[in-house]
C-alpha cells in the first residue's frame, strides 16, 4: 500500500499537536517517525488509525482519498496498528483474541474459531512466530503477546502496519526477533510505520526517516546518518550522547541487602537469597532479562512485596517490615518500572502527580489541609526544570505523552532530599535528548553522595550509568562486575553464566575473532 498524508493538522483545543504534516509511505518500506516526547507521533498515528478526526488534512491510500470514522474503517482499508500497551483480553486464548471484533460465525451466531485457528497457524508458520492459537494470552511473555497483536492485524489483511514504540517493553532478544519479523513483512510488500526512541534500532531497520518536532515535520534523515546527527535533528540542538562521566567507587556502604528472598503467591521464590551492597555515591546497575527478579528486588526494598525474608538495612536501619510510607518518608526515591500503573494516576492533574508521595508533608500540606498555592508553584517549577511538555499543570497525567509522564515521575522523586534512589527502567519511552538530561540528573544525585540503584534491561543504559553491575538470573545474583564490563560478558551472565564462566567464555571468543582478524562487533542488533 502506498499511503500519503497531506497537510494533517490535529488540534486539542488551542494546542496544535500535529501541524500540517505531510508524509508518504511507500509500499514495502519501513518508514520511521523520529521525534521528541510530545512531538505528536502517537497523535498522528491515532489520526491515521481513525481514532482522532483530523482538524484538517487528507489521507490518501493508493492515491485515493479515504475518510476514517473509526479504527474499523482504517482496518477495512488495510491499516493495522500495534499499540505499546496491548489491547488483548488476558483470560482469552490467542484465537479468541484474534477473533475479537472480527468474529466469523458458522451462522446461528456460533463462533467459527476453527477458521481463525487455521489463519493463525498459517501466519505463524509463514513468519516463524511460534504462537499456539489455544494458549491463554495471560500466560504468554510480552514479546509473544506483541506477536498476537501483529497476527490480529495480519488476519485482517493489513497492508500497512503501525508499530508505536514496539520495542520499549521487549528484551534485547525479542527485539532482534521483531526486527526479523519486520524484515519479512516488508519483503512481502507490507508497509511499516515504525516509532522508536532507540536510534540503534531505527538505524538498523529504517528505509526512510521523517523527523517531527513540536508537531511539524522538520526534515528527513538518512538511516546511515550517525546517531549523534539523528539525535540533534530530533531535538534541534546538539546532543552529547556520551556522558563522559567519572567512575565512582563510592564511600561507605549505605544499603545492605542480605539473603533477601521473596516468595510469590504460588510459593515459588522469585528472589532467592540475594545479597548486595550499595555504597554512598555509587550507582549499582542491576541488569537482567525482564522477569528475573528485578521487579521483586526493588519492590521488596519499597515494602511492596509480601512473604519477604532476609534483611534490608539502609544506614543501619532495617527497612524490611516497614510500611511503604515509612520507607518513602525515610528518604527513598523510587521510579517504578510501569509508569502508567504504578507511577502516575492518570486522572489526577500533573500538579497532583508531582506531590503524590508527599501530599501530607510540610509544606505541601499543613494540619491535614493541602496547600494549593504551594502545589501550583511546585508544579510550575518542576515543569520548567524537567521540560515537561504540557500546556497546563492542571491537565491530567493521561493527557501527557508517554515520555513526559516519565519525566513527571522523575521530577517528583527528585523533589526531595534522598538517602537512597532506586529507578527501574528510568528512561523507558523517553527520547534521546531527555535521556541525556535524566542520566545527568541521576549522576548528579550520585555525586551528592546518594546511593543509587538503576534497574534496566537496556544494556546501553546499564553500561552508561553503572559503577558496578549486578546481573540477576532466575532470582539469583550471577555476579557483580565492574561498570566497564563488555556487553558480551553481561549477555552471557544474563543467560545464566556466573561472572567467572562468562569472562572465560568471552575471552575465548575474543581470541577466536582476533585470530580471524575480524573487527569486534558491538552487541545488540547487527
Amino acid at each position: 500500500m502506498k499511503l500519503e498524508l497531506k497537510g494533517i493538522t490535529k488540534a486539542f483545543g488551542g494546542f496544535v499537536a500535529n501541524d500540517s504534516i505531510d508524509l508518504v509511505v511507500d509500499e514495502g518500506k519501513v518508514h520511521t517517525l523520529l521525534g521528541e516526547n510530545g512531538a505528536g507521533k502517537s497523535t498522528l498515528m491515532n489520526v491515521l488509525y481513525g481514532l482522532y478526526e483530523p482538524t484538517e488534512g487528507e489521507i490518501l491510500v493508493d492515491g485515493k482519498p479515504v475518510h476514517f470514522r473509526g479504527p474499523g474503517d482504517a482496518m477495512a482499508a488495510g491499516i493495522g496498528m500495534v499499540h505499546q500497551h496491548f489491547m488483548l483480553v488476558p483470560v482469552f486464548t490467542v484465537a479468541e483474541n484474534v477473533a475479537l471484533g472480527d468474529e466469523r460465525t458458522k451462522g446461528a451466531g456460533i463462533l467459527d474459531l476453527e477458521k481463525t485457528r487455521k489463519a493463525i497457524r498459517e501466519i505463524s508458520d509463514q513468519y516463524g512466530f511460534h504462537v499456539d492459537p489455544d494458549a491463554l494470552v495471560e500466560d504468554l511473555p510480552v514479546g509473544v503477546q506483541q506477536r498476537v497483536e501483529i497476527i490480529k492485524a495480519l488476519v485482517r489483511k493489513a497492508d500497512l502496519l503501525i508499530l508505536d514504540e514496539p520495542t520499549a517493553v521487549l528484551t534485547p532478544k525479542e527485539t532482534d526477533e521483531l526486527m526479523d519479523i519486520i524484515r519479512q513483512l516488508k519483503g512481502d510488500g507490507t508497509s511499516i510505520i515504525f516509532i522508536s526512541h532507540k536510534l540503534r534500532e531505527v538505524k538498523a531497520i529504517s528505509d526512510e526517516i521523517t523527523v517531527i518536532r513540536r508537531g511539524k515535520v522538520v526534515g528527513t534523515a538518512d538511516p546511515s546518518a550517525d546517531a549523534m546527527e539523528l539525535a540533534s535533528l530530533m531535538v534541534g540542538r546538539s546532543v552529547d550522547l556520551s556522558l563522559g562521566r567519572q567512575h565512582s567507587d563510592g564511600t561507605d556502604v549505605a544499603l545492605e541487602i542480605r539473603d533477601l528472598t521473596v516468595i510469590d503467591s504460588l510459593g515459588v521464590p522469585t528472589l532467592d537469597h540475594v545479597s548486595l551492597d550499595v555504597r554512598k555515591g555509587e550507582i549499582l546497575a542491576v541488569a537482567g532479562v525482564q522477569g528475573n527478579g528485578q521487579t521483586e528486588l526493588v519492590e521488596a526494598v519499597m515494602g511492596l512485596t509480601d512473604h519477604t525474608t532476609g534483611s534490608i538495612r539502609l544506614d543501619g536501619v532495617e527497612l524490611l517490615g516497614r510500611s511503604t510510607k515509612q520507607i518513602v518518608n525515610s528518604g527513598v526515591g523510587y521510579v517504578p518500572e510501569d509508569r502508567s500503573t504504578d507511577g502516575v494516576i492518570g486522572d489526577f492533574t500533573i500538579a497532583d502527580n508531582l506531590i503524590l508521595n508527599r501530599y501530607d508533608r510540610h509544606p505541601v500540606a499543613r494540619g491535614g489541609s493541602l496547600q494549593p498555592a504551594f502545589i501550583a508553584e511546585n508544579a510550575e517549577a518542576k515543569i520548567g526544570e524537567f521540560d515537561i511538555r504540557t500546556q497546563s499543570a492542571l491537565h491530567t497525567a493521561s493527557q501527557l505523552s508517554g515520555g513526559n509522564q516519565q519525566k513527571v515521575v522523575l521530577a517528583r522523586e527528585f523533589s526531595r532530599e534522598l538517602n537512597l534512589f532506586i529507578a527501574s527502567q528510568p528512561t523507558r519511552g523517553v527520547d534521546v535528548g531527555s535521556i541525556e538530561f535524566l542520566h545527568r540528573r541521576i549522576l548528579a544525585e550520585r555525586d551528592k553522595d546518594v546511593p543509587v540503584i538503576v534497574v534496566s534491561t537496556e544494556l546501553d543504559e546499564v553500561a552508561e550509568l553503572g559503577d558496578r553491575i549486578a546481573v540477576l538470573f532466575h532470582g539469583k545474583v550471577m555476579g557483580i562486575v565492574p561498570g566497564n564490563t563488555s556487553r558480551d560478558v553481561l549477555g552471557l551472565m544474563m543467560a545464566g553464566s556466573t561472572a567467572e564462566e562468562a569472562l572465560a567464555e568471552a575471552d575465548a571468543a575474543r581470541l577466536a575473532t582476533t585470530e580471524n582478524d575480524e573487527p569486534q562487533l558491538p552487541g545488540g542488533i547487527a
Binding site: 486539542f12 502517537s42 497523535t43 491515532n46 488509525y49 481514532l51 482522532y52 478526526e53 473509526g70 479504527p71 474499523g72 499499540h83 505499546q84 500497551h85 496491548f86 489491547m87 488483548l88 488476558p90 475479537l100 471484533g101 503477546q145 508505536d164 514504540e165 520499549a168 516509532i195 519499597m302 511492596l304 510500611s323 511503604t324 510510607k325 515509612q326 520507607i327 518513602v328 518518608n329 523510587y334 517504578p336 509508569r339 502508567s340 500503573t341 504504578d342 507511577g343 502516575v344 494516576i345 492518570g346 486522572d347 489526577f348 503524590l356 508521595n357 501530599y359 501530607d360 500540606a365 491535614g368 489541609s369 493541602l370 494549593p372 491530567t396 493521561s398 493527557q399 505523552s401 508517554g402
Partner: protein
C-alpha cells in the same frame, strides 16, 4: 495488560455535567410523553386522530403541561395559593425531603470516589436512626446537648455499619456490593426485631413503633410551626461544605481519590490502601447515619420499619447525578426532594400517578449511564475522538484504541 478494568463507576464519573443536565431534560420529555399516553382525554382524542389530529396533540400537551405544572406547584412555588405561607410551603417541603437524601448521597459519593460502589446507605441510615432514636427517648438532657448526642449517635451507628464493610473488604477482598446488600438486609431485620423488643418498642404498644423521642432531642423547626423544615437542613448544608473540603482540600480526600483512581500508584506512593478503604466507608456510613437522625429527629419523631423509605437507594441515583461532586450532589438532592414533594401534589391535582416520578428518576439514571445515548439525542459530538484516557479505562475505545502510555 491494562491495570484495572473500567468499572461502571469510572464510566459514570467520566461523563460530564452537561450530560447530567441533559439527562434530566430527556427524562422529563420522555416522562411527559408517558403522561400524555396514559391520559384519558388524550386517548379518547386519538379515536378521531385522523379527523382532527390537532386535538390529540393539544390534549397530549395539556396533560403533560398540567401534570408538570402541578408538580412545580407542589415542589417550588404554589402560585394558586391564597396565603403567602401556602405559597412558599412547597419549597420548604422540598428542602425537608432533600435533607436526609443530601447527607446519604454525600456518603455514597465519598465511597464512589474511593472506588467503592456503596449501595449500603439504606442499612447505614437504619443503624443511624436506631442509635438516634434510642438516645432520643432514653436520655433526659437539655436541648442542645441532647440533640448533639443524637447526631453523634447517628454518626456512630452509620459509621460502624459502613466501617464494617470497609474493614471486611480491605481484609478479605470481598466485594462491597455483596457486603452492602447483605448488611442492608441485616439492618432491616435487626430493626424489625428490635422494634418488637423492649429495646426500641413503645411501652404498652403491640405495634412495631418506638416511643416518641424527647423534644430536647429534636431538630428545631426553622420557620415556625407551619413548616416542617428543620435545623437538620442547615446541618446537611454544613456537611456538604465539610465534604467539599474533605474531597478537595484535605490530605485524606487526596488519599481517597488516589486509591479510587489508581490503587497501584497510590500504594506505590506509600498510601495505606487498607486504611483509606476503611475510612472512606466509615465516612460514607457516618453521612448516611446522619440521614437517620434527620428522619426521626427532624420529621418523624419516632422510629418505624419504614424509616429509611427509599432514601438509601435514591441516594445512589443522586450521587451519580451529582457526579460524586459535593456541589453537584447538593443540587441533585434538591431535585429529588422536589420530586418527592411535587409528586404528591401532581397525583392529587391531575390524577397522574405518582409512579411517574419514579419513572422519571429511573430514566435519569438510564440516560446518565448511557452518555452516548444522550449525546446522540441532543446531537452533541462524540467524545470518543478524545485521546483514550488510561489504557483500558474507556471500554469502548479500549477495544480498538490506546495510547502509548
Amino acid at each position: 495488560m491494562s491495570p484495572e478494568t473500567p468499572s461502571f463507576i469510572d464510566r459514570l464519573r467520566a461523563s460530564g455535567a452537561v450530560v447530567s443536565v441533559l439527562a434530566i431534560v430527556a427524562a422529563f420529555i420522555v416522562g411527559g410523553i408517558l403522561i400524555a399516553a396514559t391520559d384519558e382525554k388524550t386517548t379518547s382524542a386519538t379515536t378521531y386522530f385522523f379527523a382532527r389530529p390537532l386535538d390529540t396533540l393539544a390534549a397530549a400537551w395539556n396533560a403533560a403541561a398540567n401534570s408538570y405544572a402541578a408538580m412545580f406547584r407542589g415542589a417550588v412555588f404554589n402560585y394558586d395559593a391564597s396565603t403567602f405561607t401556602a405559597m412558599i410551603k412547597p419549597l420548604t417541603e422540598t428542602l425537608t425531603y432533600a435533607t436526609p437524601l443530601l447527607t446519604a448521597s454525600l456518603g455514597v459519593a465519598v465511597a464512589f470516589r474511593a472506588g467503592l460502589f456503596n449501595i449500603g446507605a439504606q442499612g447505614q441510615l437504619i443503624l443511624g436512626a436506631m442509635f438516634a432514636t434510642w438516645i432520643g427517648f432514653t436520655l433526659d438532657l437539655a436541648w442542645p446537648v441532647h440533640l448533639l448526642l443524637v447526631i453523634l449517635g447517628s454518626i456512630l451507628g452509620g459509621a460502624l455499619w459502613g466501617g464494617l464493610v470497609g474493614w471486611i473488604k480491605a481484609r478479605t477482598g470481598a466485594h462491597e456490593v455483596i457486603l452492602t446488600i447483605m448488611l442492608n438486609y441485616v439492618a432491616l431485620n435487626l430493626l424489625a426485631y428490635l422494634l418488637n423488643t423492649p429495646v426500641l418498642q413503645r411501652p404498652g404498644s403491640t405495634n412495631p413503633v418506638s416511643p416518641q423521642v424527647n423534644g430536647s432531642a429534636m431538630y428545631p423547626e426553622l420557620l415556625g410551626d407551619e413548616f416542617r423544615l428543620h435545623l437538620g437542613f442547615l446541618v446537611a448544608v454544613a456537611a456538604t461544605a465539610l465534604v467539599w473540603w474533605l474531597m478537595n482540600r484535605s490530605t485524606l480526600g487526596f488519599e481517597i481519590k488516589a486509591v479510587g483512581s489508581n490503587r497501584h500508584a497510590a500504594r506505590t506512593a506509600g498510601i495505606n490502601t487498607f486504611k483509606v478503604t476503611v475510612l472512606a466507608m466509615v465516612i460514607a456510613g457516618a453521612l448516611a447515619g446522619m440521614a437517620g437522625a434527620a428522619q426521626v429527629n427532624g420529621t418523624e419523631r419516632f422510629l418505624t420499619e419504614s424509616v429509611a423509605a427509599s432514601i438509601g437507594f435514591d441516594a445512589i441515583t443522586v450521587a451519580l447525578l451529582g457526579r460524586s461532586n459535593p456541589i453537584g450532589v447538593f443540587f441533585a438532592a434538591l431535585l429529588f426532594g422536589a420530586f418527592r414533594a411535587g409528586g404528591v401534589t401532581m397525583q392529587v391535582a391531575t390524577g397522574t400517578p405518582i409512579d411517574i416520578v419514579l419513572v422519571v428518576q429511573s430514566l435519569i439514571v438510564l440516560f446518565i449511564a448511557a452518555p452516548p445515548l444522550v449525546r446522540s439525542i441532543f446531537g452533541l459530538g462524540q467524545r470518543k475522538k478524545r485521546k483514550p484516557r488510561t489504557p483500558g479505562r474507556d471500554a469502548a475505545v479500549a477495544a480498538t484504541a490506546g495510547g502509548d502510555k
